[in-house]
């Protein structure tokens, strides 16, 4: 046994899935090493033997098997960790890293899980980064689609790919992102870990827009954005995240433009309703009833008679309950989900009204916000919109309609103050374009 092999074996002594096999060619022993959890051992073995049979010498075998020959031990160890097959000659003079037959640890390309494109392409990203890039390349067969890949992380390295269209995405932006990616010195486990490197922001709005749809990504690439792909993460991260992404979906443009605009307006209205409606209810019921026409005022007054809670508390209870239900449905296994929905629906809708804990009008309001909350694209967007309504709700309970308005202004200013790498969140589009020619 040679040093190299011993060293490797020592390194992996605590790994029971590490295999070490001996083969021979021309009486020269050589060793195969790797993880049997990542490598399909039987098939890889067969492959090596076949190659060995067709090669005339050991040397030729090594050349035939791989073009990564005679590397140092550290690289070999890294290759093993990455799921490669390592072959070392018995005397330790030669070694090679072979691409083995891997175990199938990937999902097939499937329908999107968190988005449902209507009348649009139905494929979605998967965990494997190469498949994802392939999905994009297939759609954008231009040489101007650039791809730079990085490996980031301290403990475990992770592949990170940046895609952009040369001549579309602003050069300064590409430079800045490149610099920021190079600064990464911790592990990137989640999108939020990555977010930190794009500028300190203790905000509810992410720097990147997550999407599962390759069609959406290609569209955004053409709109001067930069797309980041993380290995083992079935979403593309579009940089920067803009307010309008919430309302404009790429598959809209499969409709006639007038219809598409109507849909987008509807989404804006939905978002605004979702943020303002509960607050407006509180404002009108408890602070400014005089702004309603008398018929409506009397109707509201009638529906609230005998309800023990003040309006703010009543609304808070309902809104929180609804948010709880929404969260519970996501968490629960699919077989239990409908039950919760049903029980929640009955309790929230029927029982609370009959017990005179909340007014029937509020139930209508709550229904409206549940529905309107999901019209925007992107789960994160709909989450942060849901969060925005709480401060406005509290303001409304103090200042009434004024509070609603100021709260809304506050939201607008807050969103307008966000920037990612100098690009404001509220920009309608990225106007600046990069240069086409390599300089």
């Amino acid at each position: 046994m040679v040093n190299v092999v011993k060293e490797i074996q020592a390194r992996f002594s605590r790994h029971d899935d590490f295999f070490f096999e001996e083969e021979q060619k021309d009486k020269m022993p050589f060793y195969l090493m790797g993880f049997n959890t990542l490598i399909d051992l039987a098939k890889s073995n067969l492959y090596v033997r076949q190659v060995a049979a067709s090669s005339s010498s050991v040397n030729e075998l090594f050349i035939n098997l791989s073009d990564q020959l005679d590397v140092d031990t550290e690289k070999l160890i890294k290759a093993i960790l990455e799921g490669k097959l390592v072959i070392v000659l018995g005397n330790g003079k030669r070694n090679a890293i072979v691409d083995p037959v891997s175990r199938n640890l990937r999902r097939n390309i499937d329908k999107p899980q968190s988005e449902s494109p209507l009348q649009g392409p139905l494929d979605a990203f998967v965990e494997d980064i190469k498949t994802n890039i392939g999905l994009i390349r297939k759609r954008l067969d231009t040489e101007r689609l650039c791809h730079s890949s990085h490996e980031v992380g301290k403990l475990a390295s992770r592949k990170l790919s940046m895609l952009y269209i040369k001549g579309r995405a602003p050069d300064t932006l590409i430079k800045k992102i490149n610099k920021q990616i190079k600064q990464i010195d911790t592990d990137i486990e989640t999108v939020d870990d990555l977010n930190k490197y794009f500028g300190q922001r203790s905000s509810i709005v992410s720097h990147v827009f997550l999407t599962e749809l390759p069609s959406e990504v290609t569209h955004l690439l053409k709109k001067n954005r930069v797309v980041l792909l993380l290995d083992n993460y079935p979403f593309a991260l579009v940089f920067p995240n803009l307010l309008l992404d919430m309302f404009c979906i790429a598959s809209d443009r499969n409709y006639p433009s007038l219809l598409a605009y109507a849909l987008r307006t509807l989404r804006v209205v939905g978002a605004v309703i979702n943020v303002l409606l509960p607050a407006l209810y509180v404002a009108i019921v408890s602070v400014n009833p005089e702004i309603l026409k008398i018929d409506l005022a009397l109707f509201v007054s009638e529906s609230r008679r005998g309800i023990p809670f003040p309006a703010l508390l009543e609304t808070m209870i309902m809104v929180v309950l609804v948010d709880l239900t929404l969260e519970a449905i996501v968490r629960l296994p699919k077989s239990v989900g409908p039950t919760i929905t049903m029980v929640g629906g009955i309790i929230l809708g029927q029982a609370m009204v009959q017990a005179k804990l909340v007014s029937p009008l509020l139930v209508i309001v709550v229904t409206a916000i549940v529905i309107s909350g999901s019209v925007v694209s992107g789960i994160q967007n709909s989450l942060y919109i849901r969060l925005l309504r709480y401060p406005i709700l509290i303001l409304a309970s103090i200042y009434g309609v004024l509070g609603v308005f100021i709260g809304f202004l506050f939201t607008i200013v807050y969103l307008a103050s966000l920037t990612s790498n100098g690009i404001p969140y509220t920009a309608f589009r990225i106007r600046e374009r990069g240069t086409q020619n390599e300089s």
């Binding site: 008398i294 009397l298 007054s301 009638e302 103090i398």
Partner: protein, 354 residues
Amino acid sequence: MKRVNKTLITAMFLLTFLSGCWDIKDIDQRNLPLVIGIAKADNNEYKVTAQIPIPKLSGQTQSGPMSRIVTSKGESFSSALGQIKTNSEDAVDYSHVRLIVIQKNLTKNQKELRQLIKFLMDSKEIPMKAMLAITNDHIEKLLSNINDKLGVDSTSLYDFFNKGAGWAPEISSAPIWEVYRSLFSYTEDITIPVVDSGKDTVLNYKGAAVLKKGKITQRISPNENQLINLFQNKSAKGKIESVGFASVMVTKSTIENKTVMKNNKPLVYSDLNLKIDILERKADITNNQIRERLEKLTQKQFYHIFKQAQKSNTDIFGFGQYFRDQIPYDDLKNWRGKYYPKLKVNFQVHVSME
């Protein structure tokens, strides 16, 4: 910057604990009076009566009074309003008042009426678009009549004064701000509707009172009031007129005014075009006869009111408005005294058939 923002936001949330520091009442804890009646009590105090609808408890289907009448007295109007607030078990919110009925005995004092209207206009609570009306009845009787017949169906009161052309062109409405405007205007006076409690219906329309700078100078009948409405460019569509041997319905009306100023003597040429539809007629009556009769009748009616109005120097037709650009502004304030008595109106009615 970031730290500052954070402290600011914390301060903001501290603010939220202030909720409830001042008087915020939920809508079901507020009484919303719809009609307010004002009268002079015998001892020269103000007597204010308010009609307050009581919302039904949901699920309850009882019939019976669904609103109630609250009365209080006070040295002034505002103190009487305050009295109602104190005595009521819930908070009283006057922001939904739609109609303010003034009993006749209060309208006799010009100064007091002016004061009242100014108060109503400046009041932050009572909306300035509430209607004013005058009644000959006792205010409580009128209100309890409204109460019995209407209950909470409040819009019907508003609709009573705003039926709109095509339904009842005789009725005039006088929101507070218009009355207030007429108190100051050099060139325009206003009519305030007079109502009584009706036997079968809620209110009985009794014509209008002409208000000149807070003083009632003249009473006019519903029919005459329609003419005034015509001059304010409200259509007389839907009005049914009886001309003795036939009855007709006005389907369209337009009015054109031409004004001339000759040696400080104002002159108005006024042409009223009516389009009519004959509903019924006695035998042997021709269209022409009806037409001539209607023209004559209307003209006569006009001159009758106009003469009376001129006698009391009240410009109910608002002719002065047309002369605003022909008289220097400093002279406008003399319109009622100097120019209006000399005003000649050449009123022509042109009737055409459908």
